[in-house]
């Protein structure tokens, strides 16, 4: 960490932030990222666990605990062991929530089973959101570690359970099959993820922009899309736009 002295850092990208050399898991010291300085505040003594930057890279081993094992067993039974092994790349249990990282080829098989199987019954697709993990710490985005993630939050009203599915794709090939045939509610969610992240949902009935104007260029919530803004003058001082102000990491 180079910015522990409170020096002005123009922005993450400009600051020469190198994802390859960024801490890729393990520990980061200090509540404020302070290390080895003449810190008198006591913050340098804190240690927090940070596995692999924003994308958690580790896998949780079974048993997962709670109802997660029941859901997983039912899912394996519903789609078959071979399909499950091919579809689910890894499973992560964190903060009482379970995430299945799913290969996009098998997404539709999985959601259909999750909705219809009697032991699963995830009737409600609560939310679909995109996340761009570009330069989020940890290993850099490569074809093996795609930057664009589509996150599905499914709710079982019958069993009062929630799970999360996550599909990752690269920006060069941002295609994910649309789940609108199984969950019609995903229609607008997927349009939003397309609008904001440029993720293309194959098989969507009407994949158009939803929040931005139809003729907009680019996908605003990608991390390489600037926030924009103009400097503001106030009392003879100029305040730079938010994304060029100094940033703490």
């Amino acid at each position: 960490m180079s910015n522990d002295g409170g020096e002005v850092v123009p922005g993450r990208e400009e600051a020469g932030y190198d994802a390859a050399t960024a801490p890729s898991g393990g520990f980061r010291k200090g509540s404020f990222g302070v290390s080895g300085s003449g810190d008198t505040s006591g913050f340098g003594g804190l240690v927090r666990v940070e596995p692999g930057g924003a994308v958690a890279l580790h896998t949780t081993d079974r048993p997962y605990g709670g109802y997660f094992d029941e859901v997983t067993d039912a899912l394996i039974e519903a789609v078959g062991e071979a399909t499950y092994a091919a579809a689910v790349q890894r499973v992560l249990v964190d903060r009482g929530e379970i995430t299945y990282f799913v290969a996009r080829e098998h997404l539709l098989t999985l959601v259909q089973a999750l909705r219809d199987d009697e032991a699963l019954r995830f009737e409600l697709c609560s939310s679909v959101s995109g996340v761009d993990y570009l330069d989020s710490g940890g290993p850099a985005a490569t074809p093996e570690r795609p930057r664009l993630h589509v996150v599905y939050h499914l709710t079982s009203m019958t069993y009062r359970r929630r799970i999360r599915l996550e599909v990752a794709v690269t920006a060069e090939d941002p295609h994910v099959p649309s789940v609108t045939r199984t969950y019609p509610t995903a229609d607008w969610h997927e349009r939003e993820a397309f609008d904001m992240f440029g993720i293309v949902f194959d098989g969507h009935p009407d994949l158009t922009r939803i929040l931005m104007p139809d003729d907009w260029d680019g996908h605003p919530q990608r991390k390489d899309y600037p926030l924009g803004g103009v400097p503001v003058e106030y009392h003879d001082a100029t305040i730079p736009p938010p994304d060029t102000r100094r940033a703490y990491r």
Binding site: S41, G42, R48, A54, S127, R164, R209, Q221, Y248
Partner: protein, 442 residues
Amino acid sequence: MSTTYNEADPYAGSRETTEGRVYTVTGGDWDLTFADPHGEERLVVNMGPQHPSTHGVLRLVLDLEGETVTKARVVIGYLHTGIEKNLEYRNWTQGTTFVTRMDYLAPLYNEAAYCMAVEKLLGVEVPQRAQTIRLLVMELNRISSHLVALATFGMEMGALTGMTNGFREREMILDLLEEITGLRMNHAYIRPGGLAQDLPEGAVENIREFLKIMPKRVADFHRLLTGQPIWQARLKDVGYLDVTGCIALGVTGPILRAAGLPWDLRKVEPYLGYETYDFEVPTADTADAWGRYLVRMAEVNESLKLIEQALARLEPGPVMVEDRKIAWPAQLSLGADGMGNSLEHVRHIMGQSMEALIHHFKLVTEGFRVPAGQVYMPIESPRGELGYHVVSDGSTRPWRVHVRDPGFVNLQATAAMSEGGMIADVIAAIASIDPVMGGVDR
């Protein structure tokens, strides 16, 4: 953004003249899209985005056969403000001031869901008093939100007294919230780790006073509207959507409960100790606008019950987590020049302790760090499941915040509710969805 027209642009054909190239801008491709081979009955009506009955800037494109709606398309995005993107450039505490501006009729729900998501990421539990006050202000907010829903419902159906009554009653709650938080709306009162400040003196008495008045006003509302034949005729069997349709379209909240399913996250996935409170989940079995009206009216009464119980449980205690590495360093107080750091705190950091000054400066300018990971935090807002999907990369700012706004999802049901019905009923159907465009477009 510059737009380049090409030769084949159907909206702006061009021809060369001696004066230069002249463009003829036409009104889009309506003739092509809506060419009607079967006669002249078909009419395409564009409603909005500026229309009094569309709850802000909602645009509807309706295909009509006579007065029957054959197709209803919803166009949103006119109030998109990029709040989710902006959040990624502010620290975690500043986030509350943004999310509170999303669904502006239920600002405290946005704050609470966001803060609870951040707290889940941090792994901290807020003190009991803060939890009770959160529940208290959220239920006050639920009543005020439902009152606006009922008031605009009345206005859109032509019952203007319903509107004036609804807004009058809501004003009582806004006064209470102003007293408690300092602002009528956009409070930024609930903060990660607790609350911005404790309840001010006299607030509890004023809430009790409100609890005495409000039941009479609810009864007045029933007397004014519920028994009225016109009101019933306009609402009954309008905007029908059954449980299957609701779940397929992701619809939650009063619409789902009016279809008969008692699905309320306060009961099925309790948070803030809702499981220890005594309240009912009102339902109806009509699955139409009438049922939604009745459910909202009944929920106002249930919220009053919850507020009463919360008041009885208020016990002295802190309203912010003990962890000084997360808690806002200053106790805010009201001075002659408005709200600010208390004089006592300023004296302490400026005159007594250098370390306290450093601590204050670091926490206020830089903020605290949130361990990497992602959570989804759903709560029951007045409109249904309000979910915050928050991702942290371990830094002082959110990596990504996605809001599952119930208005956004519920609005998808417009076509299912309106197609095949009369054009006048479209207004009733949308009023019964109660979308708030600030939340829909974010």
